[in-house]
């Protein structure tokens, strides 16, 4: 991580750093290089691209934004930090005109602007890259982009396609404008989102957790794109949970806590620990490595042998000859960018999809590949699926009922009749042990914030003392405080002798909790190594598909860098070496 910062300082900090803390000399240099846009800033020391003051937004029962103020200068990369539910999304929606604040003022390019709608915001030059892409899968890239523009702006699809190609090559984001979006990878879809903003001459780009779906390599190339944009004078509002990325990329950071400004800082000079404590309001350990497994037994609790399954539909991924095993009291981490077979692997492990051969998956030497989820649970397996609402929990059912859904073996049912008191008791146990913030056990699952629901789901599985826990993206979209709690619970469960498989896109997380680690790419599993014998760099390479299958050690030399990874990025990644 340090490497990125250093590189940034060496090469381009004169250009990226905001005017307020730049020496006079470098400032004039930027003015020359970017032209007329900055004439304003020369005459007015307090020229801001966007400034908002006293923004307050109240939803029933919660003050989402309370007197929030924020100011971003031209060419500045500004981070917006905060836990889930801290009010980041609300502020972001207000700045993009999706939601109207109850009170407060916004100035854009010095003019007071009530942002009435996203269309209005776009006309002013505000672009937004959503966390959940707002793309139409059945349409092509160029059609998608045309739809977000005025008819006159868009012109003919042919001209627009040419513009898209120009922009994509200028900013190093290769994309074919005529491909259908459903055939694009997540990283490519994000590029489409960014290009969609860039075709419209924007001067402020808002990015909502843009790195959560990318490989480290893709993150590096995204950052290169964003730096280039900033150097050309575009302001960026970068929303992220990942403090180290904020440190590497951003000039300033505004931290929100419970809807209020907790402070602003220069992320380059502020330690991640300090920023984290601003976010959560207490000294939180961050990125610390948890203890390693002390188990020396060589049993195999879960063994996956030669798991090979065809892809289901055009959107699925085929799994090819996957081998791994997990011992009791051990956490196996499986990294990988979404869409590389995690979903399929989880479904096959949980029993949601049955394997073609029962022997592909064994639990304590019993072949379970053809057993249904219920039968697997009876054998001591527990699963935390990827989607919280819809797979992990039923949105419209209460927490008690959701607890019963997988906790039915915890003596909650007697001869087919529900034992209401025990059911509520079980839900209450989960709520209190895992500090789930909810209005009691009768609250609907959908009324909980993502982090709290995740705590509930994980708690529900852990309290059943499983022999084997399959856990997908345990802390996806979860704030630092909850993430620490979830990680500690996983470690505690492991120390009780449970075998745990964690699938996650977050490498830092996997390096914090796993004992051994591997990565999925295109449905193949990389070698699995103890965490102490590998590095974030190596796993990042695995995620990009650079590995020889351990089964066939045919041509190790044949694997050079994957296409699209520039030597420079490669260097960045190596400098991002993991240090426990």
């Amino acid at each position: 991580m340090n490497g990125i910062i250093k590189k940034n300082k060496d090469k381009s900090s004169e250009i990226i750093m905001p005017a307020s803390h730049e020496p006079e000399s470098s400032r004039s240099l930027r003015l020359e290089s970017t032209g007329a846009v900055f004439e304003n800033s020369r005459s007015d020391n307090h020229f801001y691209r966007i400034r908002c003051e006293g923004i307050t937004k109240v939803y029933p029962g919660v003050v989402a934004n309370d007197q929030v103020s924020l100011a971003i200068q031209p060419g500045e990369i500004h981070a917006l930090l905060g836990e889930n539910g801290a009010g980041k999304s609300t502020l972001m929606k207000i700045l993009y005109g999706v939601t109207q604040p109850d009170s407060g003022h916004i100035w854009f390019d010095g003019q007071p602007q009530p942002l009435k709608s996203p269309a209005h915001a776009r006309r002013l030059g505000i672009g937004m890259v959503f966390q959940h892409f707002s793309l139409f899968e059945t349409l092509t890239v160029v059609e998608n982009i045309a739809l977000s523009m005025d008819k006159r702006e868009a012109g003919s699809l042919k001209d627009l396609a040419r513009r898209i190609e120009e922009i994509s090559s200028h900013y190093g984001m290769p994309i074919d404008p005529h491909r259908h979006v459903h055939s694009l990878s997540t990283g490519e879809r994000q590029r489409v989102e960014i290009i969609r903003c860039l075709v419209q001459d924007i001067s402020l780009l808002i990015l909502d957790e843009p790195t959560s779906v990318l490989t480290p390599q893709e993150v590096s190339s995204l950052f290169a794109t964003l730096r280039k944009l900033a150097a050309e004078g575009c302001s960026l509002l970068f929303i992220s949970h990942k403090l180290q990325e904020v440190k590497a990329l951003c000039d300033r950071a505004t931290v929100l806590r419970h809807g209020k400004i907790a402070g602003t800082c220069d992320p380059k000079t502020t330690s991640t620990e300090d920023m984290a404590s601003m976010m959560v309001g207490s000294q939180t350990t961050l990125g610390q490595r948890y203890s390693f497994s002390s188990n020396k037994v060589e049993d195999k609790r879960l063994a996956v042998q030669g798991l090979t399954e065809a892809a289901l539909g055009d959107f699925g991924t085929a799994l090819q000859d996957i081998h791994f095993s997990v011992k009791p009291g051990e956490i196996l981490g499986i990294a990988g960018v979404a869409g590389n077979g995690q979903k399929e692997l989880i479904q096959l492990l949980s029993g949601e999809r049955l394997a073609t051969s029962p022997d592909f998956i064994t639990l304590d030497d019993q072949a379970i590949g053809k057993l249904t989820p219920g039968k697997r649970r009876r054998l001591g397996m527990a699963v935390v699926p990827e989607e919280r609402l819809g797979r992990g929990a039923v949105p419209d059912m209460s927490l008690s009922e959701n607890g019963l859904l997988t906790g039915f073996l915890q003596n909650l049912v007697s001869r087919g009749f529900l034992r209401q008191r025990r059911i509520h008791g079980f839900a209450n146990d989960v709520i209190s042990n895992f500090r789930v913030k909810a209005h009691g056990n009768l609250a609907d699952a959908k009324s909980l914030s993502g982090g709290n629901l995740q705590k509930f789901i994980i708690g529900r599985e852990i309290l059943q003392n499983p022999k084997l826990l399959i856990c997908a993206s345990p802390t996806w979209g979860v704030d630092v405080g909850a993430a620490n709690l979830i990680h500690q619970s996983l470690i505690d469960l492991r120390d009780k002798g449970t075998a745990i498989v964690v699938l996650s896109e977050d490498l830092d997380e996997l390096f914090q909790v796993s004992d051994r680690i591997g990565a999925l790419c295109h449905g193949k599993l990389s070698p699995v190594k103890p965490v102490t014998e590998t590095s974030i760099n190596e796993v990042g390479q695995w995620m990009a598909g650079v590995f020889t299958n351990p089964e066939s050690e045919a041509s190790e030399q044949a694997y050079a860098l994957p296409r699209g990874v520039e030597p420079e990025m490669e260097q960045n990644i190596q400098e991002k070496e993991f240090t426990p």
Partner: protein, 308 residues
């Protein structure tokens, strides 16, 4: 089978298929925007009865057609108030609309049962109508048949080449994404729905002003339902709706043809053919998840909450 018989079958096939085509085209646009309107039968009946009354009262067939368009839109307006504005369940509301339309049209039309009207007469298109077989089937029809072909072409061009067509498709796929990029979801759905209503009214008017120029209670005889099935059968493609409408038209006159040829198959059994075909297509569509994802409007039938 001699040439004349084939010609006559094709002629009848196009005539029978036209009301299906009109209604299905309207519903196709409506469903593409994500609104499922099961009230087609009710809207058709209202279009048929009001069109007939207007035409017989004023003596103007064109006025009858215009009134049927308006009443179709009025029915759609009622539906839209419930499902778009108040976000009622589209399936239940659609069924209610059908029952409502059937009852109201029977009430309004009581005094007009048995009255006769000189309906739309065939208009021969010079030269083209002299082509053997096809000339009679396609170019010796009444004006509403030509309209249906024109509208089919217009809608095909609309979805193929126009930006508004793209907007409708996008909104039908994901109204939330559409809102995020600033497309007018509610307005678009309203327009698509009203267009669908007008087309259903026109389909009804075709029955009471051209196909069999009279009013009889429940005269649509399930054509609204066939049209709905047809949209699915055609997997939301305009060209397939056109062919499907004629195919369904052929299926529904098949018993006459077969009886004419001396075969004895129950007409009721033959009348089930369109539905059977639809079920088969539905099964084929949904058996392949990715195919149905690419063809069916993904948000079809789901109420849209702008904030959620």
């Amino acid at each position: 089978m001699d040439m004349d018989l084939i010609t006559n079958i094709l002629f009848a096939m196009v005539r029978t298929g036209t009301p299906l085509l009109l209604v299905a085209l309207g519903e196709l646009v409506c469903e593409k925007s994500g609104v499922l309107n099961l009230g087609q039968e009710g809207m058709m009946l209202m279009g048929a009865v009001i069109g007939f009354i207007a035409a017989i009262t004023t003596g103007s067939l064109i006025f009858g057609v215009i009134m049927s368009l308006i009443v179709g839109m009025a029915m759609a307006l009622l539906f839209g108030l419930l499902v778009i504005q108040l976000r009622a369940n589209q399936v239940a509301t659609g069924l209610a609309l059908t029952i409502f339309g059937a009852g109201l049209s029977a009430y309004v039309g009581t005094d007009y049962i048995g009255q006769a009207l000189a309906g739309f007469q065939p208009v021969l298109i010079p030269l083209l109508s002299d082509i053997p077989v096809l000339g009679k089937a396609l170019f010796s029809q009444d004006i509403l048949v030509y309209c249906s072909l024109g509208i089919a072409l217009a809608i095909w061009l609309f979805f193929r080449f126009s930006r508004p067509g793209l907007v409708v498709k996008a909104i039908g796929e994901s109204p939330h994404s559409a809102t995020a990029v600033g497309l007018p979801v509610i307005l678009t759905r309203w327009l698509a729905l009203l267009f669908g209503g007008a087309m259903a009214g026109l389909g009804g008017a075709y029955l009471s002003l051209a196909y069999t120029p009279l009013w009889a209670e429940g005269m649509t005889a399930g054509r609204g339902w066939i049209a709905l099935a047809l949209v699915v059968f055609a997997s939301w493609k305009v060209e397939r709706v056109l062919l499907g409408a004629w195919l369904f038209g052929l299926a529904s006159i098949m018993h006459l043809v077969l009886q004419g040829m001396g075969a004895s198959i129950s007409s009721n059994l033959l009348a089930t053919l369109p539905y059977l075909a639809t079920i088969i297509v539905l099964v084929l569509l949904s058996s392949n998840q990715s195919r149905s994802r690419l063809l069916a409007p993904m948000s079809l039938g789901k109420p849209y909450h702008p904030t959620g």
